[in-house]
């Protein structure tokens, strides 16, 4: 039996409201808020990046389990915004958490599903008996091009999960991964902003892969959507996860605890992991949790978790996702946001 023994998230304190971005580019804020179902998004501080977000999320995960970090045998960080092109984020995070030097680390990149990729590999290593514990983190400080629809959603945050075989909070029952070559969204080496295929990002990309992975894992497990207490999906905007959930037969009530995108934005590699974290914050023993990530390019990882009686004792040991979202956010205007996201060219 393998599963999550500790989980934790981190969302930066800064926010920008959709109205600010719409005002800057002469767009209709009401139509955008209705269409994307987004009110505001998180913004990283000037001193925050994928590495600092990963450390903060991982520390919260460690608070929820009483283990020695030195016993973590692998650390995988999934992100599309690793601060270095060459030098793994895992080296800095491993040093900061005190995991170094006897561990394996790698940085993963698969657009928005790099975090769940890490989870997929980490749990497999523990399951295989290669190590006692393995940690996977999905974190991003994603950028949308100015005036692009992505600018309303691309945000910052992350979640960390520690997998083990003892004191499991949520047992991992099934996994499935579904991947094709689909050019829906990409960023070439050296390019600052990503490109996306407009409407192509919907049906042939997000919906095909999320549904493909979801249907396969449902068939593999023998479960039906009504068997689950909760369901979480990757949240590129507010609308897509609710739509795909409904198509698959899930209800809004099953998705509501993890649907934090309206206040957080799309934290890319941290999106579905943070939805899972918010769901674990409210889960009760024996609750079945359905999760499907999505990464452009494109692919989806699906997981089925079952909460154990250990979940009750740990939920309050670290700040919960919705507590972070409500904890006195600092709102930025577009000028401050442009400075924070280094969109302004400065003299060296």
């Amino acid at each position: 039996m393998v599963g999550i023994i500790g989980y934790g998230s981190y969302i930066p304190k800064f926010r920008i409201k959709a109205e600010q971005i719409a005002h800057q580019w002469g767009k209709d804020a009401i139509a955008i808020k209705r269409g994307l179902m987004l009110q505001e998004k998180s913004v990283p501080g000037l001193d925050e990046d994928t590495i600092t977000i990963s450390v903060a999320a991982a520390k919260n995960a460690l608070k929820r389990c009483n283990i020695n970090p030195k016993e973590i045998g692998a650390l995988y960080i999934g992100s599309e915004s690793h601060p270095y092109a060459v030098k793994p984020s895992g080296t800095v995070v491993g040093e900061a958490l005190g995991i170094v030097p006897d561990f394996h680390t790698a940085d993963f990149e698969f657009a928005c599903k790099a975090g769940s990729e890490g989870m997929f590999v980490a749990q497999a290593l523990v399951k295989a008996g290669e190590m006692k514990y393995a940690m996977a983190i999905g974190a991003d400080t994603s950028q949308g091009a100015p005036a692009d629809a992505l600018e309303f959603s691309a945000s910052a945050g992350g979640s960390a999960f520690i997998f083990g075989k003892e004191n499991i909070l949520a047992e991992l029952l099934f996994t499935h991964s579904y991947t094709t070559d689909t050019p829906d969204f990409w960023r070439r080496e050296g390019a600052f902003y990503p490109h996306h295929g407009g409407r192509f990002t919907g049906e042939p990309a997000y919906f095909k892969h999320v549904q493909g992975a979801a249907k396969a894992i449902l068939e593999k497990s023998g479960y039906s959507p009504s068997d689950f207490t909760y369901a979480v999906f990757h949240m590129p905007n507010g609308k897509f996860p609710l739509t795909v959930g409904k198509k698959l037969g899930f209800t809004n009530e099953q998705m509501e605890p993890g649907w934090v995108v309206n206040l957080m934005g799309n934290t890319y590699s941290g999106s579905s992991p943070t939805a899972l974290s918010a769901t674990l914050d409210v889960a009760k023993p024996d609750d079945l949790i359905f999760m499907v990530s999505f990464g452009s390019g494109a692919g989806s990882d699906a997981f089925i978790f079952k909460a154990t009686d250990k979940i009750i004792g740990v939920q309050d040991k670290a700040e919960k996702v919705r507590e972070m979202l409500a904890d006195n956010p600092i709102y930025l205007d577009y000028g401050q946001y442009a400075k924070f996201r280094e969109k302004i060219i400065m003299n060296e």
């Binding site: 501080g45 000037l46 001193d47 990046d49 590495i51 600092t52 903060a56 520390k59």
Partner: protein, 129 residues
């Protein structure tokens, strides 16, 4: 800061590792080789608590070049729960609203970078709790 010094100071900057004198129990942060109280050279490694309170602070309005984008920002002396005092930046707040006695916790943040292509230097900063 040169990279070799940054590398050397990672244990204290990343993990708040301090030196506790085995002779008299005094804690030094950053660690040092000889205790200035009892002259002992025997130390054990201890990790500082993350929580503390602001003893005093100042607001920087004219900053060194690499910190110009952050002004105005606060630099505080923070007393941690075990009595150790450290100097650190206080972030994620309006510095004009800070008060002596505010409760803070230490977090892991970027401190500076060696230009656009050099290494990124990380360390501790304080946020309000």
């Amino acid at each position: 800061m040169p990279s070799p010094r940054y590398r050397r100071e990672m244990p204290q900057r990343y993990r708040l590792e301090a030196g506790k004198c085995k002779g008299c129990g005094k804690i030094f942060f950053p660690p040092r080789l000889i205790c200035n109280k009892c002259s002992s050279q025997n130390f054990e490694k201890v990790t500082l608590p993350e929580n503390g309170k602001i003893i005093t602070f100042t607001i920087i309005r004219v900053a060194p070049q690499q910190f110009e984008a952050e002004v105005p920002y606060a630099i505080a002396i923070v007393e941690l729960e075990n009595g150790v005092r450290i100097t650190t930046q206080v972030v994620d707040c309006d510095p004009e609203k800070l008060e002596i006695g505010n409760s803070v916790k230490l977090v892991f943040r970027k401190v500076q970078a060696e230009g656009k292509t050099g290494i990124i230097l990380y360390g501790y900063k304080a946020v309000l709790v």
